[in-house]
């Protein structure tokens, strides 16, 4: 039987003395969008960064418990580096590399990994930009700095950068949070499209977005799992005060 995309067991994360996650146990099935829901500060982003070890970049971070990604224990197994090369991430704030062109931002991952070069690399960059629905907008200025793109375009460029490394697991940390409704809708369409080929873990505090995009997920509150399972079940059961606050906060954002 194939291992799930991600499995955590009793996962706890500390930043210095402060505990951000408390014994979190989740299972992310392969081939779907899995939503990580919860209000601000509940540990959603920390959970995501524990899955690709980015959490360790923070000063004083400490991780306990099991994190299995594509069947490999990434904190104890020596083959963790190999499995993490099959994971990519898109962040809340678009963060294309400031010193690279549009083309190089997408090409840098495959190039440094030795995945492709020359014409093959050009084709891969084009494929990733097309997947991210950005090719038509940038095909005539691939050598321009990435910073010359708008916020929405930069976020789609970051998605293309993540896709160019051919990940099996894509982590997305509130990818529409800093975008206007038009660009946010484009990214949502993209997530639907991509979910046919790659497992996506989507962090969001927007319950409606989770309902639109994800089939399963987990609801976190103050670093603890409140509920895990089908999204419809998480959003319909009476964890009422938390859910209502999530829905209300999303509606307030939309109205603004």
């Amino acid at each position: 039987m194939r291992a799930p995309a991600v499995r955590t067991q009793e996962l706890s994360v500390w930043y210095g003395q402060s505990q951000a996650l408390h014994s979190v146990t989740i299972t992310v099935p392969r081939g779907a969008v899995y939503a990580v829901l919860g209000p601000s500060g509940c540990g959603k982003s920390t959970l995501l960064r524990a899955i690709n070890k980015l959490v360790l970049l923070r000063e004083g971070a400490r991780v306990e418990g099991l994190v299995e990604v594509l069947g490999v224990d990434i904190y104890r197994d020596s083959s963790a580096e190999g499995v993490l090369s099959r994971v990519s991430m898109v962040f809340q704030t678009p963060n294309p590399f400031p010193h690279l062109s549009i083309y190089d931002n997408v090409a840098i991952g495959p190039r440094l990994r030795g995945m492709a070069k020359g014409k093959e690399l050009d084709d891969l960059v084009r494929w990733a930009l097309e997947k991210a629905a950005l090719w038509d907008e940038v095909k005539d200025r691939l050598k321009s700095p990435a910073s010359s793109l708008s916020g929405g375009q930069q976020q789609r460029l970051c998605i293309a950068r993540a896709l160019a490394t051919m990940p099996e697991l894509l982590l997305m940390d509130e990818p529409t949070a800093n975008l206007d409704p038009v660009n946010a809708a484009k990214i949502e369409e993209l997530i639907k499209e991509l979910s046919r080929e790659v497992t996506i873990i989507l962090v969001t505090h927007d319950a409606e977005q989770a309902r639109r995009l994800a089939s399963t997920g987990v609801l976190l509150f103050m670093g603890r799992v409140v509920s895990e399972g089908p999204i419809s079940s998480i959003l319909s059961r009476s964890y009422s005060s938390i859910i209502q606050s999530l829905v209300a906060s999303a509606r307030r954002q939309q109205a603004a």
């Binding site: 970049l57 962040f91 704030t93 963060n95 590399f97 991952g109 440094l112 990994r113 950068r161 490394t165």
Partner: protein, 281 residues
């Protein structure tokens, strides 16, 4: 109420006057040094090609030039810059990226120890380890001692350059799933290449201006440049020896060398400022 307001204004005025006086004193001292170098050194430099291409004249004779010391300076500073970059960049990377690890802690203490040691001590150590076994001072020994002196500056600046990269870009780099060393050397360092170039320039500035480390290591070959494994000299060494002699022509040469050193240092400092001001993350 009014008395308090007057007291505040007087205190404010006093602080302003004090800071202005301090600034003027520093500017005055720096101006005096530069002006002296310019007044005394410019006529020597204006002698033209002979200053750069000839060796010093005999004591009390023609002025001559500084060509052997200039060649020694260029060679030793070039080797010292290469060596301090080759060692300082990886050291700076380790200080930044392996922060807190036992090896990084030892490296940090070592870098601090070298930075805090008087540079003449570094010269003495290199004399013992290199000049004695080779049985001769040399441009190579001088370059080694200069590279040791420059090393902490390069390492510290590289560490700061990497630390200046915001977490959002650092996370993006590490999220590509590359091995850590590839991420650091092929993504993070190019991301702040200007910062690393600044580190290299700072190291060469430090090597250019030092005299104490080369006192026991370079030799005092002011008449010709014999090669990197033979006795040599540098501009700063020429100033040190010639400025105190009773010979008018050698004192003039020393002033010319002072102005040349000042011009080289100022150019490097200008370049460093241009590079570091262009760092925008």
């Amino acid at each position: 109420m009014r008395a308090r307001s007057i007291r505040r204004r007087l205190a404010d005025l006093a602080v302003h006057l004090l800071t202005a006086a301090s600034a003027l004193a520093i500017l005055g001292a720096a101006g005096h040094i530069l002006l002296s170098a310019l007044i005394e050194g410019l006529p020597v430099l204006l002698r033209g090609a002979s200053f750069f291409l000839e060796p010093p004249g005999p004591p009390g004779g023609d002025v001559g030039g500084v060509s052997p010391s200039l060649a020694g300076t260029l060679v030793t500073v070039a080797i010292a810059t290469l060596a301090s970059t080759a060692l300082g960049v990886p050291a700076g990377v380790m200080l930044s990226e392996a922060r807190g690890s036992p090896l990084a802690r030892v490296a940090e203490r070592a870098v601090e120890l070298i930075a805090e040691s008087p540079s003449i001590v570094v010269g003495l150590v290199v004399f013992t380890l290199l000049v004695v076994p080779m049985r001769t001072p040399s441009a190579l020994a001088a370059a080694v001692s200069l590279s040791v002196v420059a090393l902490p500056y390069v390492a510290a600046q590289v560490r700061e350059s990497l630390a200046a990269i915001p977490l959002v870009y650092r996370e993006a780099a590490f999220s590509l799933g590359l091995p850590k060393w590839k991420t650091v050397f092929l993504l993070l360092i190019p991301m702040n290449a200007r910062g690393v170039a600044t580190a290299v320039l700072l190291g060469s500035m430090r090597a250019l201006g030092e005299t104490a480390p080369v006192l026991f290591t370079a030799g005092a070959a002011f008449q010709a440049f014999y090669g990197i494994d033979k006795p040599s000299s540098t501009l700063s060494l020429l100033v040190f020896f010639f400025a105190g002699t009773p010979y008018e022509n050698w004192r003039k040469l020393a002033w010319g060398a002072v102005l040349l050193l000042a011009m080289l240092s100022t150019s490097l400092a200008f370049l460093t400022r241009r590079l570091s001001s262009g760092v925008r993350m």
